[in-house]
């Protein structure tokens, strides 16, 4: 089903309860300021228009404008996906990886509606050769990316939100103690931040080390400017408890 933009809580409640039936519901939380959300919006729309997703309900929610809903689900970072079936949260996914979202969606569609699997299997077999070729082309593209293109991509990424955290894992599931600590510091200072899980994208991980001239993660960017890793942020906060706010304003 095409994406429905949520305007208020009443509409949201109606769509997720009364009108839901036994449909699989996908909630997509986004904000206008987070750059990864823009690209993901198009992906989300394309996925929703696929015939195989005709019975899935896609709800798009601006996390800033619908703060009650985001608080209800304790959304602390965008983009954020939640899959719901019959009033139960099946799975939550934080981050901007469309591939991961699609595979998650496919899995839950199968588990909810097993009859639909044979068709897709047949399709896959028929398209086997084609899909292999596609993969090859993708790989070539990645290799051909010039340093300028990489830097342009990283510049966009570090500016994706006023405060951008490049970390191992996600804020809800950090995969490293240093990343966990920095998430804690940002939350403690009530700083809204976007994040990027560098474990999901080795190209970003390797290139960002050079880009920031910094060999480790986490890395914190404020207004597109590299601030440092955990030690520097901690020390800066010891010297100036409002360091993060000041960096944002400067």
């Amino acid at each position: 089903m095409p994406v429905i933009e949520i305007d208020d809580q009443e509409q949201f409640t109606y769509l997720t309860t009364t009108a839901a039936g036994d449909k699989l519901i996908v909630l997509y939380f986004h904000t206008s300021w987070a750059e990864p959300c823009k690209a993901l919006k198009q992906v989300f729309e394309a996925i929703s228009n696929e015939p195989s997703n005709a019975s899935v309900s896609f709800l798009s929610i601006d996390a800033d404008e619908n703060s009650e809903i985001s608080e209800l689900f304790e959304i602390s970072a965008v983009p954020y996906f939640i899959l719901i079936h019959k009033g139960t949260i099946l799975k939550e996914l934080s981050g901007a990886d469309p591939k991961e979202f699609v595979s998650l969606l496919e899995n839950y569609k199968k588990s909810i509606n097993p009859e639909s699997t044979p068709t897709s299997t047949v399709e896959n077999v028929g398209a086997n050769e084609g899909s292999h070729n596609d993969e090859d082309i993708d790989d070539d593209d990645e290799e051909e990316e010039t340093e300028e293109q990489v830097n342009a991509r990283l510049t966009k990424l570090v500016n994706a939100a006023p405060v951008m955290l490049f970390m191992k894992g996600s804020p809800s599931e950090p995969k490293c103690g240093f990343s966990r600590q920095l998430v804690g510091i940002l939350r403690e200072h009530q700083v809204r931040f976007g994040f990027f899980d560098i474990l999901r994208d080795d190209s970003v991980r390797q290139h960002l080390k050079k880009f920031s001239e910094w060999p480790t993660f986490p890395q914190l960017y404020i207004n597109g400017e590299f601030q440092g890793g955990l030690d520097i942020i901690k020390e800066s906060l010891e010297e100036d408890p409002d360091f993060l706010q000041h960096a944002l304003q400067s």
């Binding site: 240093f178 910094w214 480790t216 590299f226 440092g228 030690d231 520097i232």
Partner: protein, 85 residues
């Protein structure tokens, strides 16, 4: 060969000028995976935290590839004297 306190200390001493004091602590119980470093040098005078840390990161660049956890603090002699006293 795993990274040792000694190796890190030598790298820093031979790269950063005017080193007054270095503390290297192996927090990994010997497996060479986690280190805490403090470097005191007047070479850091007038440099911000980022520039200081980058200088140390550069000194131990090769070792850093092998280390998982690495924490580094850099002080000038004057800053250090205030902390110690």
């Amino acid at each position: 060969m795993s990274v040792t306190e000694q190796r890190l200390r030598e790298r820093i001493e031979s790269t950063i000028p005017q080193v007054y004091h270095i503390i290297v602590t192996d927090l990994s119980y010997g497996c060479g995976q986690s280190f805490d470093i403090v470097v005191v040098s007047d070479f850091f005078q007038g440099k911000n935290k980022l520039m200081r840390s980058r200088a140390v990161n550069k000194a131990v660049k090769e070792e850093l590839e092998e280390i998982h956890a690495f924490s580094c603090k850099c002080y000038t002699e004057e800053e250090w004297s205030k902390i110690v006293v």
